[in-house]
């Protein structure tokens, strides 16, 4: 046999394996803070709200977007890290508030989903918050007195102009649900929709009133469809235990591979560690969120991803048993296994892609995790296992079929 042995490649092999392990340790350490956790792990409040049509306001895209914007503004004003407040579909709003521990506190933050109404002294409704465009605290440029400036949209301005004409010199009551939050007296007819509420308030009080007016200006009434609150200590424990389970599973799989496939199994084990590293690395780089089922799926993939290596080694064994030389058995084994690995995984990839485009929420997240797992395991088996096995062969460490567990030859 014209086989060339390069003993220095043993050293290269060791260096590469150590470098891979080092990179793995680094990535795993990074993953702790680099991967964004879903609320079921990190803790927090998830709420799905649905808009219900009220008397004069229909639920449409614009109304939902405005309502989401208002809630976002309230949340921002109260300083919660990385909140998610997005319209979903044509009549829903999804809210995710990480780190929130107390539903009561959170609900105060989301604020009153109440209706803001301007009512005349005779109890007749003038205009609702749906027509309120703006409410800000400002100061009189001459006296420095704080006031609240409000602005109506066109329809609101017309209604308000009529009312201020009718109720000149009398109070207008501003209701938030059943509560009067302000009762300014009409001092002049306001035709352009821009009004000022003045009075004896401090800047703070004026600011609060402006916030209340903005808060109350939700264009639609919102009803809770779903609410999930997870205390951070619960998720923390689950993550900790999952990491332990992942470690134990990985160790068991590697031990099994070494016992069954000997040297080749050891190489598969190293490839397996690299596989986990690759997946974690991708999860750090991609803007994905890891949820509990996603994490469980990922750990499960440790056992499944080794499949590509098993297929390759069984092929190499077949080739050896049919009397091929070591080198050609290895090369042929990889070549023939490649097609099998590709065809058997493409179908699952099809499923994950379909699920990605056609579903939402946890199922979609799981599909993403599954896709990353399959793609990475194919890549690792086809490139890294092959590279390491060739290198081991060239280094002269493979002398008989025993390297993959074949007794004869």
């Amino acid at each position: 046999m014209g086989r060339q042995v390069h003993p220095w490649k043993t050293l290269l092999l060791i260096v590469i394996c150590l470098a891979l392990l080092g990179a793995s340790v680094f990535i795993v350490w990074q993953a702790d803070k680099g991967i964004k956790r879903g609320l079921d792990i990190a803790g927090g409040l998830y709420v799905l709200l649905e808009a219900v049509p009220t008397g004069d306001q229909e639920v449409d895209q614009g109304a939902i977007e405005r309502a989401a914007a208002i809630i976002r503004m309230r949340v921002d004003e109260l300083g919660i890290a990385e909140p998610v407040i997005v319209p979903q579909g044509k009549d829903r709003i999804r809210i995710e508030l990480p780190q929130v521990e107390d539903e009561e506190q959170a609900r105060e933050i989301i604020g009153r989903t109440a209706q803001l109404r301007f009512v005349g002294p005779d109890g007749k409704e003038i205009v609702t918050g749906a027509h309120l465009k703006k409410a800000v605290m400002d100061r009189d440029p001459y006296t420095g007195e704080p006031f609240v400036g409000i602005e109506f949209d066109q329809e609101g301005a017309e209604l308000f102009a009529k009312a201020t004409g009718q109720y000149l010199g009398r109070p207008i009551y501003i209701y938030l649900d059943e509560e009067v939050i302000s009762a300014p007296t009409v001092q002049s007819v306001i035709t352009d929709g821009n009004a000022m509420i003045t009075g004896e308030f401090t800047a703070e009080e004026a600011g609060e009133l402006a916030l209340l007016l903005r808060s109350g200006a939700l264009p639609v009434e919102l009803r809770e469809l779903e609410s999930r609150l997870v205390g951070p200590t619960l998720g923390e424990r689950t993550e900790e235990i999952s990491v332990w389970a992942a470690g134990a599973g990985l160790l068991a799989v590697i031990l099994f591979m070494i016992l069954y496939y000997r040297l080749a199994g050891l190489i598969a084990g190293i490839a397996q560690i690299f596989y986990m590293t690759l997946v974690l690395g991708i999860l750090i780089l991609l803007p994905t969120t890891l949820t509990l089922p996603g994490m469980a799926g990922l750990i499960l993939s440790i056992g499944m991803a080794v499949d590509a290596n098993v297929i390759i080694f069984e092929r190499i064994k077949d080739e050896l048993r049919s009397g091929r030389t070591l080198r050609s058995a290895i090369e042929n084994g990889f070549q023939r296994a490649f097609r099998t690995i590709l065809d058997s995984n493409v179908t699952t990839i099809i499923a994950t892609v379909v699920l990605f485009f056609l579903t939402s929420g946890p199922v979609r997240g799981f599909a993403v995790t599954l896709f990353i797992g399959i793609a990475s395991s194919m890549f690792t088996a086809i490139t890294l296992t092959r590279f390491l096995l060739r290198l081991t062969f060239d280094a002269g460490l493979i002398r008989s079929g025993r390297f993959v567990g074949v007794k004869t030859a």
Binding site: G43, L48, E101, D102, E103, E224, L225, E226, S227, R228, L229, T233, L234, R237, T238, I241, W244, A245, A246, A248, G249, A252, V253, F256, Y260, L292, P293, A296, G297, I299, L300, I302, G303, M304, V306, D307, V310, I311, E314, D318, R336, R339, T340, D343, S344, N345, T347, T348, I350, A351, T352, V354, L355, L358, T359, P362, V363, A367, L370, I374
Partner: protein, 305 residues
């Protein structure tokens, strides 16, 4: 060599039985739907002090929730010491104010109950149903595309056999859940997805072998080819199932023994059943089924000739 084709009627019978029992249970028992799909509210309270279920029931009774289902959560720290003992309470749908009242009542009774030790999930029935419909539709589309892909790479009869084996696996997993009254939540959908991928993957590895061994073979040699191909793939199928099961056992121990989380245990159980059934069906059902389809085809052709 075991003749999988000669004994195929036995495995078909067993599978038919499994599917029949599963469908029967699904028809009679239905699913034990969790709040994700049926709607409702659950509280998980992890106490930092000694408590009894009677005490929990007392608090619930005062709040007018005496019919609530209680489940003890017994966790352990990695050293095996009991830790984080808690309780899961399942009630019908409660709105925000009602939930707040319940938690306040527990805080009063168990002052050490911290804000971080509580999980409250409340789902209206609409949302869950939508998610299932969405997932089912997506899986149906995926099946159609997979049939097309397998037909394109192999042949249509392989598609048919693979998909029948897949449906078999999913029906059995669903059937076991229905029979054992295990709770079905959104994690179950994720588990079915995993079984979906696993089952098809397993079958294709074998039919890929058949395709390869089939070259230049006459119809009367097909049975031998199928048997040989299954035998050649047997070690691979068993080894992959074994490594997957090793990890599943690690997850099961972690979730059951250390956390006591029922949701995640259901996920793991679904996949354990799926892996077992999926391995069985790809060896004993899918390829023998394809062989049967082929036999019909040959017989038809023979008659035509």
């Amino acid at each position: 060599m075991i003749s999988f084709t000669r004994h195929r009627n036995k495995s078909f019978l067993l599978s038919a039985l499994l599917v029949a029992v599963s469908l029967l249970s699904l028809a009679l028992n239905g699913f034990n739907l969790g709040i994700d799909f049926a709607g409702g509210t659950i509280f998980q309270l992890n106490f930092r002090e000694q408590f009894t279920l009677e005490e929990v029931e007392e608090v619930l009774e005062k709040e007018g929730l005496s019919g609530a289902a209680l489940q003890l959560v017994q966790g352990r720290d990695p050293g095996g010491e009991a830790a984080g003992e808690g309780v899961v309470i399942k009630t019908s749908y409660l709105d925000e104010e009602e939930r707040r009242k319940v938690i306040a009542a527990f805080r009063e009774r168990f002052p050490s109950l911290g804000a971080g030790d509580v999980r409250v999930e409340s789902v209206g029935a609409v949302v869950g149903r939508e998610m299932v419909q969405q997932a089912l539709f997506a899986l149906a589309v995926a099946v159609v595309l997979m049939v097309a892909y397998i037909a394109f790479r192999f042949e249509f009869k392989f598609s048919l056999a693979t998909i029948l084996a897949l449906l078999h696996d999913i029906i059995v997993v669903a059937g076991v859940f229905s029979l054992l009254r295990l709770e079905v939540n959104s994690t179950f959908v994720a588990a079915i997805l995993t079984v979906f991928g696993y089952s098809v993957n397993n079958t294709i590895v074998i039919i890929d072998r058949i395709r390869e061994n089939l070259r230049h073979k006459r119809p009367e040699e097909y049975a031998g080819v199928v048997d040989l191909s299954i035998s050649q793939s047997l070690v691979r199928c068993l080894n992959t199932s074994l490594t997957t099961l090793l990890v599943l056992v690690a997850l099961f121990v972690g979730f059951y023994y250390f956390i006591g989380s029922f949701d995640l245990i259901a996920f793991v159980i679904a996949i354990i059943i799926g892996v077992a059934v999926g391995t069985y069906s790809s060896i004993f059902v899918a390829s023998p089924l394809w062989f049967t389809f082929k036999e019909w085809e040959f017989r038809r052709r023979g008659k035509a000739a």
